[in-house]
């Protein structure tokens, strides 16, 4: 920017400032309730901090932590909401119920297994894409090509699940294609299987894997690979010994995110899965369709699921960081 333009802009800014002082801000500062308030706030840095911090602390405790605490609390009771004239008792029955019946723990283990598998599929699918974007595309095109991938992910869960239903149905596009090139005579029943569910979940979560991978790969200096090449490492060795270990952080956060999201899907398994692929989210939801005393069991199951998902991700992250340290050595 030329000097003249800059000074003109400063001039303009200064004049608007003067005008503003005469109008809104000037009046606000001289307004007596504001002065009283400002005096109260400005009395000491300590008070300033307290006023700033009070609301956020209350908010995260009551709104972010509160629901989780109450869910855990309810899971140890025998009735919620408590009907008039009855008493609420503490009990472990809700947890005992989980272990007592395979109709409950089968979906639970299935969910963990599915979520882990789908997370792995997402990783395999998106790593080359992230790699290509970060290493082989010019800086300017990177943003455009990333934006192109972002567009479908602004579309909601239900709409995208429906799109997968149309793709995989018996009269869907995939079956039509396979039939028209003569590979099959009658449609393959993709829908209502673990395959269609996996397609849906991978489709919905790919971006959450892609972005952490991309930012990890993008941070990695190209010179590392060049140095390895100079030392005689082939393409595969460079990838395995340099790129992969140095992007473990991205892999780890992407996988954690996708795993947590995948365990929490409800609508997608309902719409894309079948009777043999019931996931734990559907089991939990079942306790809330009926009003009344099934809620504590639902809360207990949700707690089991949350704690297990946390344990899996923490163990996974420990494992990944151990792997990284081992490789750096």
């Amino acid at each position: 920017m030329s000097y003249d333009a800059a000074s003109a802009r400063n001039e303009r800014a200064a004049s608007t400032l003067r005008q503003a002082d005469r109008t809104f801000w000037g009046r606000l500062v001289n307004w007596s309730p504001y002065r009283a308030f400002a005096g109260l706030v400005a009395a000491s840095p300590r008070r300033q901090f307290l006023i700033l911090a009070l609301f956020p602390i209350l908010w995260v405790l009551t709104q972010h932590l509160g629901p989780m605490i109450q869910m855990v609390g309810v899971s140890f009771t025998d009735a919620y909401p408590v009907a008039a004239g009855t008493e609420q008792h503490l009990t472990l029955d809700n947890y005992a119920r989980f272990f007592g019946d395979s109709i409950f723990w089968m979906p639970f283990f299935r969910t963990l297994f599915f979520a882990a598998t789908f997370t792995f599929c997402t990783l395999i699918l998106t790593y080359p894409v992230a790699y290509y974007l970060a290493r082989h595309v010019s800086r300017k095109n990177q943003m455009l090509m990333l934006l192109l991938l972002l567009i479908p992910f602004w579309v909601g869960e239900i709409v995208r699940t429906y799109a997968i239903m149309i793709l995989l149905g018996n009269t869907g596009a995939v079956n039509l294609l396979l039939r028209s090139i003569g590979l099959i005579d009658r449609p393959i029943p993709f829908m209502y299987t673990s395959f269609s569910m996996g397609m849906g979940i991978v489709y919905l979560t790919a971006l959450y894997m892609l972005l952490p991978l991309y930012s990890a790969l993008e941070k990695l200096p190209k010179s590392y690979n060049e140095a390895a090449a100079d030392l005689g490492a082939g393409a595969w060795t460079r990838f395995r010994r340099v790129t992969l270990p140095l992007t473990i952080e991205g892999i780890s956060s992407g996988c954690t995110l996708v795993f947590l999201i995948a365990t929490g899907f409800y609508a997608t398994p309902v719409l894309l899965g079948g009777p043999s692929t019931t996931v734990f989210a559907e089991t939990i939801a079942g306790f809330f369709h009926v009003a009344g005393d099934e809620w504590p069991t639902g809360a207990a199951f949700a707690t089991i699921m949350f704690v297990s998902a946390l344990i899996v991700t923490v163990v996974f992250q420990r494992l990944m960081s151990a792997l990284r340290k081992g490789d750096v050595k």
Partner: protein, 263 residues
Amino acid sequence: MNRGNRVLLSCVYWAFVLYVFVPLILMVLVSFKDSKFIGFPIRSWTFEWYTGVFADAQVLSTFGYSVVIAVLSTAISVVVGTWIAVLLEGRRFWGRAVIFGLTVLPALVPGIISAIAFRIYARGLGIEPGMGAIVWAHAVHNVPFVVLVVMARLSTLPKSQIEAARDLGADPLIAFLRITLPYLVPAILGASIFCLLLSFDDFVRSFFLGGYEPTLPVLIFAKLRSGMSPEINAIATVALILTAVVGIWAERFTRRLKKETEG
């Protein structure tokens, strides 16, 4: 890196682009199909489903309901999120890590569990299922995203600007309102659009906290459970175009705004 590898990787990228776009394009195509029967091939085309959707009072009111919920919950998330971000960014105090952890908690809780926890909590507070409950759940769920976006922007604010304002006699509040807040506008706008889309697209919280009136995703879900029809494609296509357009516009707009305030 050799040429062959590069070509192979670019093929992988474009295959991925196809993978994310083709299902949506097919869904849009079926919405123009002149038959009640979902599937391919499409032999004749029609606009009938769209005229039906725009004449359907239930769909229109559901649409309005979803928009109102999105706007209200976003307003709450943005105020709370900005406040938390201002507290957390660049300040060291006892318990900061705990507050940060609690702040991002709602974003990490798997969908179904978050919905259940909100439902139980709302019941405990005496909030009936319905609009208020959905707005509240969406607002809480979206706060972490606002905090992260605003914190990232706030960390790039030159400290000297605040100091200059203070030297010129502005009290902390005025300095915040006249220096910090204008600087945060691109981040706040970006976060708002993101929250609007999250709320508008949310299914699981709206489903478990909703009363008799469905939001748009809940309506589509209910219609899907009673059978597929091109009418659903038309509704979904309208929702798709709207969210994509808003998303693209916001992306361009916030980027331009960021450039302007920096340049």
